[in-house]
Amino acid sequence: MEGLANGLYGIPVLGVVFQLVGYLVAVIPEPTVSHQIIFLATPLILGALCGIMNERSGVVNIGIEGMMLSSAFAAFVAAGLANEALGGTPWGAFGITVPLLIGVVAGVINGVLVSTLHAWLSITIRADQIISGTIINIAAVGATGYLHRIIITPNPHLGGGIFSAWTVPDAITSIPVVGWLVSAFLGQGPIAMSALFLMLLLQVMLFRSRWGLRTRAVGEHPKAAETVGIDVIRLRYRNVVLGGVFAGLAGAFLTLESQASFQLNMTAGRGFIALAAVIIGRWTPVGAFGAALLFSAATALQVAIGVNPPTGQLGSVLGAIPSQLFGALPYIVTIIVLAGFIGRSVAPAADGQPYAKEVRS
């Protein structure tokens, strides 16, 4: 088999795989690369938390992408307008200004409003949940495109600034063995840091609190939950609406922490990768975080090659891959992992099923 591969490609395949593993072990502790992996994973994990809040309570949400896109727009415009009206001098850590905070709040409010629409469509009027998500995605592209033309195109200098990352002290960076790992987590902006905190918080809440138990019950067997006195409709509403907070934060991250501008369709499929992270992470926050890291590492590989080009046969193999295909790597990884994982990854039993109380007829 290996002889065949040798003959076909003139490159020992197994050798290159070993070289790749060795290269990754060497390059990931590189400060720029490890920082980039966490940074790129932030919108993915926030989006995935939104998806987990929805799907754990039995509501499919494929509208994360649209929620993120519209929140990114709302956050950017709110911060920009606040900056024009108030101006902003940074105070304290992270370069925090009043316009930036207003932007974050606007992004979160937008996320909550859009997910309230999703909740109303999928819980109250029991419309199809996948269609509801599709509507949100299409509406977000349309509405941001329309408003972009009206608000941003005439004001090219609109902008609310950008959060800065925390400078990790040398004392932490120079800790042997784990110093790079700790500083990769700490050397981030405020939204990225809170994303990690929220991920851990949701993990604990979902599996160690009364709310979590009830949420999982509602997602697995709403009828049984109803019979023990849980208000299924109300709990689903609350969770879906709260999930919008995470999507709103993810959007705010894109325009206030990742970069200080808004472009059309700037989410570029991140909401869908977040959706895949939910599935691959088996509907748990920590699992989704792992999946998000996998995807962001696939993207960061391109950065790593720029920082520290691999040598030898691995270098020639990676060098032969066109740069456009590197951009598609997270999506290819998603499909491969989904195809391989799905048998062992089971969704909440009532995911996607609208719930209606039984009544005597």
Partner: protein, 390 residues
């Protein structure tokens, strides 16, 4: 805050008087245009500073004029041709999404299949530019169909054999298709002698323009022909019956001895072929080459068209003509009233919203009949968390 649910019987048990299937879609469109006019009023207020109550009327009239609904014969011909040319890919895309709906599948991947079809047609067309006309065109179209079908086969096979849901995989394949376009157009398919990255000239593979018009190309015929073909497949062939049975109830189909795995792969491949055909027509008939950042709204529009047309070929044609007219007329509306063309996207989303939330439509117009949604959608959403179908 959810309204009290206690008195409401479950949806399936509610008694509906059977009404015309087109009722809710038509009323949804009417309501969406009313909502759109509110948006136009607000836009006018925001940009000009005072409330111009006639602005929605002016804007919609300009839209109609651009779409060919006007008394000036030259402008009418031009506008109607534009409407038909814009509607043609939407018919094929709508059939692609609608056919998948019939099998209980949600093909969000029409976008990617369209792109792959367009790319293959552009590449093949440039390669066979010197062949005799009909042969070159046929080769390019065939390549587009195969590429689109392959891009539909992948999610179909993944769904049938691994259980990976097509909603997620087709979305991923859309982005991958855009990357493949960027790579091939700047790499292997790059033509020399142009100021920007693009594929080569089509030569004899260019579709002829009909009746001496500016842009009514022969590919429109493919859309016209595809409609009866898909109708015949779905309602006159055993295969179509099996597709519809799988869409209505996969378990029942399996117990009746049908092969859901095969039907899913077949339907997704055929859906991909239709979208790929739309892509190759667009390249061979209109743009005549492909650039690295080729973008299109056909993917999203097709979903709207299929839902608005209730996944029925005739409904899809009507819905495609509506959105073709919107796309054709929006330019003139923007020139005349400064309302951005993007309002078409907003109206599209509102139409979808009203179809999904058919309670709004029934409430506003005081009608008691008719559904907005498709029954097959339950199969789509139900399979979301489930595993392989075999």
């Amino acid at each position: 805050m959810p309204p009290p649910q206690d008195e409401r019987p479950p949806r399936a048990g509610r008694r509906f008087v059977p009404g015309p299937a087109a009722l809710v879609p038509i009323l949804a469109v009417v309501l969406a245009f009313l909502a759109g006019s509110v948006l136009i009023l607000l836009t006018g207020f925001a940009t000009v500073g005072h409330l111009d109550l006639l602005l929605p009327v002016t804007a919609y009239l300009a839209l109609l004029q651009g779409a060919g609904i006007t008394t000036d014969p030259a402008q009418a011909t031009n506008g109607l041709v534009n409407t038909v040319v814009q509607a043609a890919p939407l018919v094929l895309g709508g059939l692609s999404v609608g056919l998948a709906f019939k099998a209980g599948l949600f093909n969000i991947g029409a976008q990617g299949q369209f792109l792959m079809g367009a790319l293959a047609a552009a590449g093949t067309g440039a390669a066979v530019a010197g062949w005799p006309g009909p042969l070159a065109i046929l080769a390019a179209i065939l390549a587009g169909c195969i590429a689109g079908a392959a891009w539909g086969f992948i999610p179909g096979a993944l769904k049938a054999f691994t259980g990976a849901h097509e909603v997620v995989t087709t979305i991923m394949l859309n982005t991958i298709a855009a990357s493949v376009v960027g790579w091939l157009v700047t790499g292997p398919l790059l033509a020399t002698g142009f100021s920007f990255d693009r594929t080569g000239d089509l030569g004899n593979a260019t579709l002829p323009i009909l009746f001496g018009t500016r842009n009514l190309h022969l590919g429109v015929l493919a859309s016209v022909l595809a409609v009866p073909v898909i109708w015949f497949l779905l309602w006159r062939l055993t295969l179509g019956f099996e597709i519809r049975t799988v869409g209505a109830n996969p378990s029942a189909a399996r117990y009746a001895g049908m092969r859901p795995a095969f039907l899913i792969v077949f339907t997704m491949s055929l859906a991909g072929l239709l979208a790929g055909l739309a892509g190759s027509m667009e390249i061979l008939g209109i743009t005549h080459f492909m650039n690295a950042s080729y973008g299109t709204s056909v993917g999203f529009d097709s979903i709207t068209v299929a839902l608005l047309g209730r996944a029925h070929p005739v409904g899809i044609v009507l819905a495609a003509l509506l959105f073709g007219a919107l796309r054709a007329g929006a330019g003139l509306m923007q020139i005349k009233t400064h309302i951005p063309v993007e309002i078409v996207d907003v109206i599209q989303a509102i139409v979808l919203l009203f179809i999904a939330a058919d309670v709004i439509v029934r409430f506003v117009f005081r009608v008691r009949t008719g559904h907005g949604g498709l029954a097959e959608l339950q199969t789509v959403t139900k399979s979301y968390g489930e595993g392989a179908v075999r």
